[in-house]
Every structure is written in structure tokens, then in C-alpha cells.
């Protein structure tokens, strides 16, 4: 997929939290870029660093840990930017939607008020113009009788409708980049399909970049242009969705894809990668996936493999990557 120059460039992002005086390396050397209109998927299991990546980009992680590296946005580095300046970007240029539509709306305020709050903070619109814009936004995300529903409270909306409200709030100020943290995980598949469609359509119409965090490879396949697979705080493989899903090169990506129950004889054992992900306070020397990896060679336990280009547009962090024929046989 062809895209113009990147609007967001993440370069060597490291985030470290501390627990009981001990450093927990939540993110290490994460680098990627997103262009206008591009949808990038971040996939991985719980604890792999997907959400921390989003929170580190938008400046929510630095309150709880140390963030280093560079996040280049419109010629500025968000990592070094003071809080006051960052607040001009949060919600205005870069918006975020969270997984839980139940807990991320204020239950005591009407959705109209919550929409207008965003508009008051980020636009110069007059009060009546804000109201018009609020109605327009609810309408845009497919909430019927938008004008009446402005007066309703979050509990009067279903889960799917609440997530639409969250999207309306996030997009109200016309952001250039949307960070979406598992926006459909709490929803039914039928509603998930509607919400993903909506995000895709709006991304196209508004020429907005999207970073979509998900653990569902099906969502990636049907929604994203590019994908980055994360494991233990690092990107282990990245490239075009078609390339990565059809021809995965990192053994972890292969394992992740194989554990999805599809195209298997019914009621046969499902594949699962042996072992469990390492704890952040006890990361192995060398490749973090080595202890669970069937393709592990001696060097894997010594040296950490850097993310390197293996074919056109594909980067893999593995000393012994799977070739296409092996991937199909496995």
C-alpha cells in the first residue's frame, strides 16, 4: 500500500517502570512510522507492550515511568516536550480511544456535555457552533436521532453505542492521528465489524493515521495496512499485513498464527507456543523468545537479534528466521 511521508515517527522508544526499586523494561527500542491515511496494527499478547507504546507516544506513560527515545510529530519530539505544550497536542492533533467504553465516559455527565468539553478545550467554536458540531459528530458515527441523544447519559447507551460516542469525542477536534487501544475487544463480533468499518471510513475521509492495538489477528487482517508484532516489549516483526500474515518469518508470529483455531480438524489439540512469556524483571539474555523457540540456535541465547530487513518492506528480529517453505510446513 502506497502512502505519503510519515506523520508520526517513533524512533528507539524505551519505557521503563519501577517496582520495588527494580527497573521493569516495558518497552525497548520500539521504532515505527505511520503515514496519513495509514492504519498500523500493533499485535501481541497481554503484557507485550502494545498499550504502553500508545501511552508512551501520547505522554501518558511518563507520569509512571521513564520514557526515552524519540517520537517525532510535526517536527517536534513529543518525548522531550513539556507537559503544557503536550496538552495542546493530546486530544487535538493526536486522539486516543480506550478499550473500556463503560469506564472511559463520565457516568454523571451527559454525552453532549462530554463532547462539548472536548470542543471547548480544542477549538475556538462558539457555544452554538459546538452544539452543532456535537450533533454532527454523533450523526457521523451512526448514532440515530443525534440531537435528542445529546441529553442522554452514558448508561442509556449500549456498549456499541458508547464506543461510538468515544470515537465521536476522539474525532471531534479533527485529529491527524488516532491511537485506538483494543477499541472493539469488549464488543460482539457484529458490532465489532460495524465499529471497525466506521474507524476505517473516517480514517479515509479525514486522511487520518491510525495505530490500532489488538490481540486479534483477524481484526488486523481485515482492518490494517501494516502490522507490528510485539513480544516482551520489543517489535519482533513488522511489514505489510498481507506479507506478515501470509508469510510470517519470526517464529513467534508463526506460533501466534498457528494458535488461532482455523482450518484444523475439529476437536484436535490446538497448537500453543510452549512455555509462557518471560517476566519483565527476568528477561533472558539474548532473544526474549529463545526459551520458547523451536528454531533457537546457540547464538540466540547470547545475542539479542536486531530488527533487520529480510525482504522488501519487511523487518524481522530473529537470527534464524523461518523461510516461506518452513512456515507452510510448520
Amino acid at each position: 500500500m502506497e502512502h505519503n511521508t510519515p506523520i508520526l515517527e517513533v524512533d528507539g522508544l524505551n519505557t521503563t517502570f519501577h517496582r520495588g526499586g527494580q527497573p521493569l523494561p516495558a518497552l525497548r527500542d520500539v521504532s515505527f512510522s505511520v503515514a496519513r491515511g495509514e492504519v498500523l496494527g500493533l499485535v501481541g499478547e497481554s503484557g507485550s507492550g502494545k498499550s504502553v507504546t500508545l501511552r508512551s507516544i501520547i505522554g501518558l506513560a511518563r507520569r509512571y515511568g521513564d520514557v526515552t527515545g524519540e517520537v517525532r510529530w510535526q517536527g517536534q519530539d513529543l518525548v522531550q516536550m513539556p507537559d503544557r505544550a503536550l496538552r495542546q497536542i493530546q486530544g487535538r492533533e493526536i486522539a486516543m480511544i480506550f478499550q473500556e467504553p463503560m469506564t472511559s465516559l463520565n457516568p454523571l455527565l451527559t454525552v453532549g456535555l462530554q463532547l462539548e468539553e472536548t470542543l471547548r478545550a480544542h477549538t475556538d467554536l462558539s457555544q452554538s457552533a459546538r452544539r452543532d458540531r456535537a450533533i454532527e459528530m454523533l450523526d457521523l458515527v451512526g448514532i440515530p436521532s443525534a440531537a435528542q441523544r445529546l441529553k442522554d447519559y452514558p448508561h442509556q447507551f449500549s456498549g456499541g453505542m458508547r464506543q461510538r460516542v468515544m470515537i465521536a469525542i476522539a474525532l471531534a477536534a479533527n485529529p491527524k492521528l488516532l491511537l485506538a487501544d483494543e477499541p472493539t475487544t469488549a464488543l460482539d463480533v457484529t458490532i465489532q465489524a460495524q465499529i471497525l468499518d466506521l474507524i476505517l471510513r473516517l480514517a479515509q475521509d479525514m486522511d487520518m493515521g491510525v495505530v490500532l492495538v489488538t490481540h486479534d489477528l483477524g481484526v488486523v487482517a481485515q482492518t490494517c495496512d501494516t502490522v507490528a508484532v510485539m513480544y516482551a516489549g520489543r517489535i519482533v516483526e513488522q511489514g505489510s499485513v498481507r506479507g506478515v500474515l501470509k508469510d510470517p518469518r519470526h517464529p513467534y508470529t508463526v506460533g501466534l498464527m498457528r494458535s488461532v483455531p482455523e482450518n484444523l480438524p475439529p476437536r484436535t489439540p490446538l497448537y500453543s507456543v510452549p512455555g509462557v512469556p518471560p517476566s519483565l524483571d527476568a528477561l533472558p539474555q539474548g532473544c526474549a523468545f529463545a526459551p520458547r523457540c523451536a528454531a533457537c540456535v546457540a547464538a540466540c541465547t547470547q545475542d539479542r537479534p536486531p530488527l533487520t530487513v529480510v525482504t522488501e518492506g519487511r523487518q524481522v528480529a530473529c537470527l534464524n528466521p523461518i523461510t516461506k517453505s518452513q512456515g507452510n510446513a510448520a
Binding site: 453505542m161 460495524q194 487482517a221 500453543s272
Partner: protein, 332 residues
């Protein structure tokens, strides 16, 4: 081979909401949530029956009725020929022992102040499974059965991962040597790789212990994989039930077709091939007349608005509740 262990007949469950001030002023009766609207099905010995549907369709309510957490408003559930809600059955704890439930949330379904050993021992004592001196040995056996290390018995639930907690929940259910397991979204909260481990364990134990499983889940791929038969529920009614492979490869009810098509495929080349379902599940407070699906169905006609279609066998398929099943599938 197909002897049914559990027969559910015309099960209805209505939750009254109580009359609001407005209802009293208008002289209206209180509103009612129609959670189940005439569910009938047989659970066959040794099979895995999958139950799928959107949230709020009544999947969990059905599971809870089966283990007597809810008492149905109408209809019956028979186990071994006996009505489980009959007078003599109320006091009988043997049913509770023989039909065990496992819950979705591995963080709230285990007592945080009890060690795994205590949790398992309690189940053994309540149902008099073993004399006291033999309990520790049985606890060890159960841990082995679910592939947990022996030192697990001295730990508290918070010391375990989500997958390990679900193993404890399985061990607790198996402690009382049940015949039927009700798994309500047992692995939904787990990562795919952990999910695979727990599902594999469940399938192995089913073989080993000759268990019958009712598998309630919203992950369609997973249900397809583990089930022999599948029932699709919509607004408290079964709209289609049949052999799992047939139903998934060739769904007959327009709702089953839409539901299965909404599950995102792993193949990026399938993009845009899904039929999108418009709208949302209607509220069970205001049930549509006739077929519950007619408001979202592109095949709906006049008869669908008036008459509830019966669940009837269709040649070469399972049982389907749709007035237009023949035409719809003739075109397909």
C-alpha cells in the same frame, strides 16, 4: 450412542423490572425483560454442545438456569428423567454435584482468601466425596489432573495467572466427579496461546472422564473447533441448531449467516467479503413481534412480522427457525 442426559423443554425466563412511578401513574403493569423465550434442546451424553450468540441473547441465562442459579418462569429441565425444579429435587444436592458450572472471570470466581488446596477440599467436603483423611491425596490428584504443580495447593488465587486460575476452576468442578460441565465463556478472558492450552486440557479431560460439555462462548472459531453440535441463540430463542461442521460451513438461518460472516477472517484477501449486519440486538424489554430477527433481516416479509417461526428440521441441515429458509438457501 445419542442418549440425552439433559432435556430442556420450552424454557421461559422473565425478569420483572418492577413498576416505575410512570407505570403506576399510567396504570400500566411493570416492564419485563424476556431473557429466554421458549428454549428447547437436548444435551446428549458425551457430546460438546456449543452455544453462540451476541451479548444479551440469553446464552449465560440458559447456562444459569441449567445449574439452578435462576428458576425459569415456565418450562422444564429434566435430568435423568427428573424435573430439576420439581419439589423433591429442590433439596437434592446430587444434581448440583453431577452438573457443574465453570465461570468466565478467573479473578472473581475463586475466593481470594482461600488457598487452592482449601478451595478444592471444600468442594470435596460439601459433597462428601471423600472421608477427611483421604482429602489431601485427592487434592494432589486433582492438581495433577489439570497439570498444575503440587506446590499450587498452598498458594492463593492472586498468585496465579489467568490460565492457571481457569485450571483451578476446572479442578474444582471435577472434584465432585460431575457428568456434565457447563463452561460459560471459560477461556474468553485469556490470550490465544493460553486459551489453546486450557481448551486442549478440557478436550483431553472430556475423553478421559467421559464428560458432557455445554460450551457457551462468543468466539465462533473456538466454538466450531470444540463442539459436536452448535445452537445459535437470538433474543432468547434458538434460531438454528445442528451439527457443528454443517452449521459453520453452511449456515441456514439469515442470522447465523450474518453472525458467522462478521467474525474477521485471518486472510487479508477476504476483506470486504462480509455481509454486514445492520443495527443492534433489540432490547429484550421490547420484543419485536413475530420472528425476533425480522427487524434486522433483509429477507423479512409480512409473515415474519406476525408469526414466530418454529424450529423445524431442514433437509441436509439442522433445525432452523425461519419462514423463508428454503428460498434463502436455494439462492445461496
Amino acid at each position: 450412542m445419542t442418549t440425552s442426559v439433559l432435556q430442556i423443554r420450552d424454557l421461559h425466563l422473565r425478569f420483572p423490572l418492577g413498576r416505575s412511578m410512570a407505570d403506576v401513574a399510567m396504570g400500566r403493569p411493570g416492564r419485563v425483560v424476556n431473557a429466554l423465550n421458549g428454549v428447547s434442546l437436548d444435551l446428549n451424553r458425551g457430546e460438546t454442545l456449543g452455544i453462540v450468540g451476541e451479548s444479551g441473547c440469553g446464552k449465560s441465562t440458559l447456562a444459569r438456569c441449567i445449574v439452578r442459579l435462576y428458576k425459569p418462569s415456565e418450562g422444564e429441565v429434566r435430568f435423568d428423567g427428573q424435573d430439576i425444579f420439581g419439589a423433591d429435587q429442590r433439596a437434592d444436592r446430587s444434581y448440583n454435584r453431577r452438573v457443574q458450572m465453570m465461570f468466565q472471570d478467573p479473578y472473581s470466581s475463586l475466593n481470594p482468601r482461600m488457598t487452592t488446596g482449601q478451595i478444592l477440599a471444600e468442594a470435596l467436603r460439601v459433597h462428601d466425596m471423600r472421608p477427611d483423611p483421604e482429602i489431601p491425596a485427592r487434592v494432589s490428584e486433582l492438581l495433577e489432573l489439570v497439570r498444575l504443580p503440587q506446590d499450587a495447593q498452598h498458594k492463593l488465587p492472586h498468585e496465579f495467572s489467568g490460565g492457571q486460575r481457569q485450571r483451578i476452576a476446572i479442578a474444582r468442578a471435577l472434584a465432585v466427579e460431575p457428568e456434565v460441565l457447563i463452561a460459560d465463556e471459560l477461556v474468553s478472558a485469556l490470550d490465544v496461546s493460553v486459551q489453546a492450552q486450557v481448551v486442549n486440557l478440557l478436550l483431553e479431560l472430556q475423553q478421559e472422564l467421559d464428560l458432557t460439555i455445554l460450551f457457551v462462548a462468543h468466539d465462533l472459531r473456538l466454538v466450531r473447533h470444540v463442539s459436536n453440535r452448535v445452537a445459535v441463540i437470538y433474543l432468547g430463542r434458538i434460531v438454528e441448531i445442528g451439527d457443528s461442521e454443517t452449521l459453520f460451513s453452511n449456515p441456514s438461518h439469515p442470522y447465523s449467516q450474518a453472525l458467522l460472516s462478521a467474525a474477521p477472517s485471518l486472510d487479508p484477501d477476504d476483506r470486504g467479503k462480509t455481509t454486514k449486519l445492520e443495527g443492534e440486538l433489540p432490547s429484550p424489554l421490547n420484543m419485536p413481534s413475530g420472528c425476533p430477527f425480522h427487524v434486522r433481516c433483509r429477507h423479512a416479509s409480512e409473515i415474519c412480522k406476525q408469526q414466530v417461526p418454529a424450529l423445524l428440521p431442514v433437509e441436509g441441515r439442522g433445525e432452523v427457525a425461519c419462514h423463508h429458509v428454503e428460498e434463502i438457501n436455494a439462492h445461496a
